[in-house]
């Protein structure tokens, strides 16, 4: 049997780490880091999510096929985000898109 019973103290340790990261992400929101506030929030969220997936969801002990499934889900999420956002972020680069440029000015406001 490859079933893996994880020690209670590991679960509790992971939980303590997650609570600490929650406190950290809340505290960081009150410190002025400029654009890095969002980056910090996302990095901490990814760390927390990874901890939950690896230990609470036992991903660390799953066969490769299961891990590949998770990676496939994340890959498609990346495709969704990258293609959508790269379209939007590069629209004002268009040399002929006068109306787009105007709408960009309206978007960002005075």
């Amino acid at each position: 049997m490859s079933e893996h019973v994880i020690a209670k103290r590991i679960y509790v340790g992971i939980f303590a780490g997650l609570i600490a990261l929650t406190a950290l992400t809340t505290a960081v929101a009150y410190v002025d880091l400029g654009a890095f506030n969002t980056v910090a929030a996302l990095v901490i969220a990814v760390c927390k999510g990874t901890l939950v997936a690896l230990f609470f969801m036992h991903l660390k002990y799953q066969p490769g096929l299961t891990r590949a499934t998770v990676l496939a889900g994340l890959l498609w999420l990346a495709i969704l985000l990258v293609i959508t956002l790269s379209d939007d972020f590069t629209r004002q680069w268009s040399p002929t898109g006068q109306s787009w440029q105007q709408s960009t000015v309206q978007r960002t406001g005075p």
Partner: protein, 229 residues
């Protein structure tokens, strides 16, 4: 073929052994969760797009939410994930009473989450007139926040729509999870999972932790943006 505690076969006839059965369940559940990643991913993608377009509106909207709610939800969900993980562990070790205790704790935390969200947070938002489509007309303090950010009302309304849809869909998942836990609890009481086949407990656990991960991303993106310093 081995017989379980409640007289049901431990290993269904299409599987060679218990390990293959467990891996099949686990793979199926993870495939479902991969579709869920993309389900929530669409919402996160829309959020990112519009936050980039209407930065001030989203920052102002975030300031209309209360961090104390967001942070306590996170703590509650993390606690419930711990109790769920310990519940799966109890099922692995065939400890029926411990399993039932952890299922009850998880269920209570999940139900408390949904109750507090609906009864206090959302009802409070409604009283402050912050619900687009039903009653959107921020006044007093909320209006001052919006003016401080020079945010157009329609942009703040869009943030609130994202907030209600994203947390609403999440709360719906929580409600489904509470229903699943209730079912597990009844079956656990009958000794169904402590006879050797605890797959359903593990699968509901995966679902529960996934919903927790979604909240881990919702919390900073909705409650903590817009420079709170």
């Amino acid at each position: 073929m081995a017989e379980g505690h409640a007289g049901t076969a431990l290993v269904a006839h299409q599987f060679d052994d218990a390990e293959q059965q467990r891996e099949a369940s686990s793979l199926g559940m993870w495939i479902f969760l991969a579709t869920e990643i993309l389900f929530f991913g669409g919402l996160f993608c829309g959020y990112t797009l519009y936050r980039n377009l209407y930065n001030a509106g989203f920052d102002a909207g975030s300031h209309l939410l209360k961090v104390k709610y967001g942070a306590s939800y996170t703590a509650m969900l993390l606690c419930s994930s711990l109790t769920m993980a310990l519940g799966v562990r109890a099922a692995q070790l065939r400890q029926r009473k411990a399993l039932m205790l952890y299922l009850v704790l998880t269920l209570l935390l999940g139900a408390a989450f949904v109750f507090i969200k609906l009864r206090y947070e959302w009802y409070g938002d409604y009283l402050e007139r912050l619900v687009p489509g039903i009653d959107f007309g921020p006044q007093g303090e909320a209006l001052e926040v919006i003016q401080r950010f020079h945010a157009p009302l329609s942009h703040v309304a869009l943030f609130m729509i994202f907030y209600f849809v994203m947390t609403g869909v999440h709360a719906l998942h929580m409600t489904v999870g509470v229903g699943l836990l209730l079912t597990l609890l009844i079956l656990a009481w009958r000794g169904r999972f402590t006879g050797g086949n605890y797959n359903p407990v593990e699968m509901v656990g995966l679902y529960w932790h996934f919903v927790d991960i979604v909240w881990i991303f919702l919390f900073p993106l909705l409650y903590l943006i817009g420079g709170r310093y």
